[in-house]
């Protein structure tokens, strides 16, 4: 996990890229003036807001990150169809359940991304991260974290945990290398 960027004038390269794209999309134009203004904003805003922010881990493998993004987008589409079928099918046959997934990730940002992808993909909504931050002594890190998820139709608990760990957690771990 690395917190410091390569260039001091570009503390958060991906945020800059996102700001640039969002500026162009908001203005809905590709004229030279907007590109220039977008570039200035993309460099100045991260520098100006840097002192207020806690440092977040940087994306170390951009290629893998993009591949993971497309995998998740594909899974969202299949998830939608699956959940639609489950909703339209007989309600009585659904077996809902709570499942605790042990996490290997340690930083809160990758955990947030994992929890969001779990919420958007087949039949699961993430509910909670254990242990509670309030139950820990100040500033100490828990040894093991768990993600509590609610499953709409639970068939095989171990298989589900394996899928989440391999399909979504392993790439995230590699992207942030923590």
């Amino acid at each position: 996990m690395r917190l410091e960027a390569r260039f001091a004038w570009l503390p958060t390269p991906f945020r800059s890229l996102m700001l640039f794209c969002v500026w162009l999309l908001l203005n809905n134009s590709l004229s030279a003036g907007h590109i220039l203004l977008g570039l200035i904003l993309a460099i100045v805003i991260p520098l100006a807001t840097q002192p207020f922010r806690t440092k977040q881990p940087l994306i170390l493998k951009p290629g893998l990150a993009i591949r993971h993004l497309f995998l998740v987008l594909y899974d969202i589409i299949t998830a939608n169809v699956q959940v639609a079928l489950l909703i339209l099918g007989p309600t009585k046959r659904l077996k809902p359940g709570f499942v605790k997934v042990p996490l290997d990730l340690s930083h809160s940002m990758p955990i947030t991304i994992l929890a969001s992808t779990v919420s958007l993909t087949p039949g699961t909504v993430s509910a909670e991260v254990y242990p509670w931050r309030e139950s820990l002594p100040d500033g100490s890190k828990p040894e093991k974290r768990y993600l509590l998820i609610h499953v709409l139709n639970l068939e095989d608990e171990d298989a589900l945990i394996q899928t989440i760990k391999q399909r979504y957690e392993a790439p995230l771990k590699e992207i942030f290398e923590c």
Binding site: V22, L25, L26, N28, S29, I76, I77, A79, N80, V81, V83, A84, L86, I87, L88, T91, L94, K95, P96, G97, F98, V99, K100, A115, S116, T117, S119, L120, G123, V125, S126, A127, E128, Y130, P131, W132, E134, S135, L148, H150, L152, L154, E157
Partner: protein, 110 residues
């Protein structure tokens, strides 16, 4: 031709948003109800926005890409709001239906 594409996208979008709402009515407890709106609507909204994008790109000169921004923000905010809802439900100890398995996995809050 593009009119056909727009109509089909609108129908798909309408179908998925409708399914999400049906799930909201049909499911027996709060936790299961949450699944419809967090998922089935994302694809629905995505197809509706794609339809809007194609329509407005034709209407004006040049492409209209603002809709991409809307779908990105929807994708970012849908899981967060779902998470807040289910967290407060657990905090209030809402009852889940009898056959829910793994209720022991819920820890008491401090």
């Amino acid at each position: 031709m593009s009119e056909w594409i727009i109509s089909i996208l609108l129908l798909i979008g309408g179908f998925f948003v409708l399914v999400g709402s049906i799930g909201l009515v049909k499911m027996p407890d709060f936790f299961m109800r949450l699944h419809g709106p967090t998922k089935a609507t994302t694809l629905g909204m995505a197809s509706l926005l794609t339809a809007a994008m194609i329509y407005f790109s034709q209407l004006q000169t040049g492409i209209s890409a603002k809709e991409v921004l809307i779908s990105i923000f929807l994708l970012l905010t849908a899981p967060i709001s779902g998470y807040m809802l289910i967290k407060s439900a657990i905090h209030h100890k809402l009852k889940s239906i009898e056959r829910t398995s793994g209720k022991g996995n819920i820890e008491d809050d401090v």
